[in-house]
Symmetry: D2
Subunit: 359 residues, 4 copies
């Protein structure tokens, strides 16, 4: 019953086999191998246009490097107040950009609304050279609280950003989960909706350690060749990144894995909704759930061996937050979550909740 | 009728004469001259303890350099959302710290309350190494909206910061105005209340271009010798910084100048309060006023040659903000503001307001 | 006949099997798994003292991160003029250190001599705060030109560095080859000889992508937890780094692989020495050879499918450099180089050299 | 007898009077005042084309900021091994550029020759993305050892730089001394000879603290508006920088001051050349002399109150360097050096040398 994160269960068998298979024979290093060319072709096909591709091993690297090509060191990056770039990368974006300023925007479900984005931009000063200018908007798809931006939402947010001269970055560590949830094409939710550069994740979705920075206008990514190198993010045995990505994309494997994770989250959500002492202020749309649970239930689950953690509910409307005796928990499903694990989790929770039903 | 800023009126005569007087003869450069030793003595006397002193020419440099010794590049600096370090330095603090993150705290009058500080700290994650840790609190004294922190307030805020391992910086570009307003000793409102490093300003108060970074524990400032140099902020003809500061401090000149500016602001506030179509949601405590004015009055004043600018009212409670037909304006008085200028300003405003009174 | 680099032949079977084997089941991410504890134990045993261990995926990251804990942004890092940190990392060390200055020292074989180190330090100014102070010495073991520092040499260089207040970093991308060549213990050639922090490489030696930053005084590495994170170098599925390292170290596998590579280089060197039109100004001590070859021979080898590249001979004494009709080439052997490949290479070269013998 | 530096004697009377005169009345801050427009006009006239002008208070700031617009953080800046940017700014250029690499070129008199520049560029690797690419050449005019680049030399060096894609920066802390020495026009020795951006100094030449960064193509300097601000180098009371520069340029004052300093250096050189126990391996061309003196003479001068310092002779050909009993000293004359001081210095030296003549 491991629901602590979608990075806790290794890589998919297909990805792992591809890594092993890539091990024979000599290859040129640093991305000059054939497999890297294949991946570039695959991603260009997937996104229905020529793209620039730069693979690295972590989402923090992908995000920081991507943002560094959208903003000078004195620019503002708008992002959600609870986004990964803001909260979870230990000032990585500031490091890679050379000191840009991240300005957080609040909103439930870790989603930025068009209204909030406009208000945030309006509140920024325009005095030159005192006030730092806006250079980028970073959107997380799917969000840190398990929600998904619709195509219309991304389009509207991008339009606002561009009207103010800002480029648009999408943190797609869970891009696959979002696409699986939306049922749209990858092109529709990215460049057709105004996204300039995407951190396309495999790691949380079934890769071992591989994230592609994808430029929809390859010319915009040209200095990434240098930035990735000096950041220590160009692998000499780059074939092993390419092997992961090739397998991940091959035959729609990435979407199959994401659909599995999303389905497990749905099964879990349905089950939890029926249990007294548990409520779901946010209806899950991808592979993360954030139920608010009575502590008796949490304790029973942990005693039964379930691995999952509390999460901050600061982004919820006041009325929805955890009350005395409750905690908001994070449950993340993955490509490897079994229905059995879900059902056992629900059974333990239901049993622990029985006394509460009588209250 | 110049109320645009307190940096618009040159230096005080005494400061300018000191600069001229410092011009004769040979001196060793880079702060190895006698005048610099005298200033160190003056500031140690003023603050009632041995201090470390590093003079530079701008507040942005003083703030950024000071913060760089309180936080590593991956730390969080808490500050007010409308503070100069946050809004007006074009990512200077991020530059000097090597990429630290400034987290803005909201509150009326550009003041941070103890409650808001605690809430802000509580909202930050504690996961190592993902969440950046808090390393500094920066307070502006007096604030960007003309208010002053009391000794008790600084003490309470510092205590909270220190309980969480953070050092305390005070942006004292208008420190003189605050001390003149409070009537306390410089020691009481700084190190005795928990401040570790102060940007002690002369420029807005009557200097030409001189700000001292003051360490209350000199050992904490030791790497400033290198930081100031590589930032291009060590003047070869350092004698001219020392001359300014020596004259500014001599015989309480700094406080005399600040009292003059504060008195002018008080005279202006008293006059404005009596004029229909003008309201002062924030009672001025130093040398800045932020009246909300009917636009007819603003227009009449500008037509009469008054120089002053609109300012964002985003930090006010919703109910206090400018309504249709109104604008919040910033009026700053200085050591050189004449009573005559104040009275002329009030007369023009009063005349323009007459038709409004009848409304 | 692949002699282009020791990163062109994938990972050893044992390492690859360990990666596959690490794939089952749930693990906590970010290095909180058991395998990471095992690796820490292994390295402490290997080095005969408690060490601090931080694993990353590239040597550039390991070097830059390691140096960033030895020098402030305004310090000097002394290194060989042809070292990887100086020439091959696209300003990575400058990026990670926040702007430190690398000062190159010349010397044949990419080795720094004690005399050259002393002369370099003596030539640096000592004026505070103008002249940047020396904070680190970086040694490459084995060197970029295939030589090895003896224990006595490392000890002498470290002693000079420490006498001037500098810490000592060892770039051990090919540390295994050096230890295999020297026949000493890992402890003798590192901390016992004055090294403070080591980039311990597996990638060139048979790993997939894993380098450990090893602190011999764990307290000196404490901020690496943050530095690695913000650099995007902390893998979520960290188990796969640990798996590589565990297998690499297990049962002396790392030394077996290095001995194989070194032996192949020796076989190659012996063969080349006997061929007219080829000379070896540097006697190889690890797994890299830098023969100066007549171009006819180079052409014949390339026509026969050998993959190897020309290399700069700028570091050789004038008299030893390539003359008209010659080129200095780099040949690197690896854990996977076969005797057959070596012998075929030698045969092609010998055949191409026959007409030259008659000259 | 102050010959320690040209920054030890304050500002010229004309410059100081201009500062005092600028003190009356209100002005807009941050360079929006009329005097700043006048300076822009003056410099455009002086250089015979429209230039972009950004004033700051130190040469270190001017150099670092200028270089930051010529190179990305992963570029190489070629400069003399003994240049101010390399040796005397405590990693300031690395700070402002975000981590670019300065590569020093050797040559007598702190001058770079065309041959040495070509050899330096040829020795740099070209592998993308490993080897950092050359982005800038920085020339010091006049040099740290008192020599001057001719128009032909600057032209030849710039042509080489540009053929390799590098921009050209001129560190003109002593630009006035060079122009006075050469007798050419400012345009000829800068943009007409290929210089892209100049640090135009007043401080060493008679200003108080003012250096202009001058772009010969104003478009190349556009981001300086932001860079100067975030570096803390935009003065609020900017009028006082403009006043210095306006007076410095007015009526050829800058060249008059430089001619005075150069003449004093010439008088000193002529006198020293006739004294036994003193030799001048470098014939002075501007306002700095580097005599090698018998220590008895140095001691006698210091005893008589002369202020001057030893300097490294590492840049001289081996045969010219100081021998046992000798030291290379630096003597710098300034706009304020009196003939009387020169003659007294010579008299003391001559007297101390008398016993040596008999040797």
């Amino acid at each position: 019953m491991f629901f602590a994160s979608d990075n806790g269960l290794g890589a998919s068998d297909k990805v792992m086999q591809a890594i092993s298979a890539a091990n024979g024979g000599a290859r040129l290093g640093y991305g000059r191998d054939d497999a890297t060319r294949i991946v570039e072709r695959q991603l260009s096909d997937l996104f229905e246009r020529e793209v620039g591709v730069y693979m690295v091993v972590t989402g923090t690297a992908a995000n920081g490097l991507a943002l560094s090509t959208l903003t000078p060191p004195w620019g503002i990056v708008l992002c959600h107040d609870e986004s990964h770039v803001m909260e979870d990368e230990c000032c990585g974006p500031e490091f890679f950009t050379g000191g840009a300023k991240l300005v957080g925007i609040r909103g439930p479900g870790a989603k930025i609304t068009a209204k909030a984005l406009e208000a945030s931009i309006a509140s920024l000063g325009r005095r030159v050279p005192h006030n730092a200018p806006v250079h980028a908007l970073s959107l997380t798809q799917s969000t840190e609280l398990g929600l998904v931006y619709s195509v219309e939402e991304v389009r509207a947010l991008s339009a606002i950003a561009k009207a103010h001269g800002a480029g648009v970055h999408m943190d797609g560590a869970r891009f696959a989960n979002a696409v699986a949830s939306l049922g749209c094409s990858p092109a529709e939710i990215t460049w057709k909706a105004g996204v300039d550069v995407l951190s396309f994740g495999t790691t949380k979705g079934g890769g071992l350690a591989c994230e592609a920075i994808v430029y929809f206008d390859p010319a915009k990514g040209e200095e990434m060749v240098r930035r990735r190198m000096r950041g220590g993010h160009l692998l000499s045995k780059h074939r092993f990144l390419s092997a992961q990505m090739e397998a991940f994309l091959d035959g729609g494997h990435w979407l199959d894995l994401a659909r599995h994770a999303n389905a497990a989250a749905g099964r879990l959500a349905d089950g939890l909704a029926a249990i007294p002492g548990i409520r779901l202020p946010l209806q899950p749309q991808a592979n993360g759930l954030f139920p608010i649970m009575r502590q008796e239930i949490v304790a029973a689950l942990q005693a039964a061996g379930a691995v999952f953690y509390p999460w901050s509910d600061k982004g919820l409307p006041e009325a929805d937050r955890a009350r005395a005796g409750e905690t908001m928990m994070r449950l993340v499903t993955s490509f490897a979550t079994s229905a059995d694990d879900v059902d056992r989790f629900l059974a333990v929770a239901a049993k622990a909740a029985r006394p509460l039903a009588a209250e």
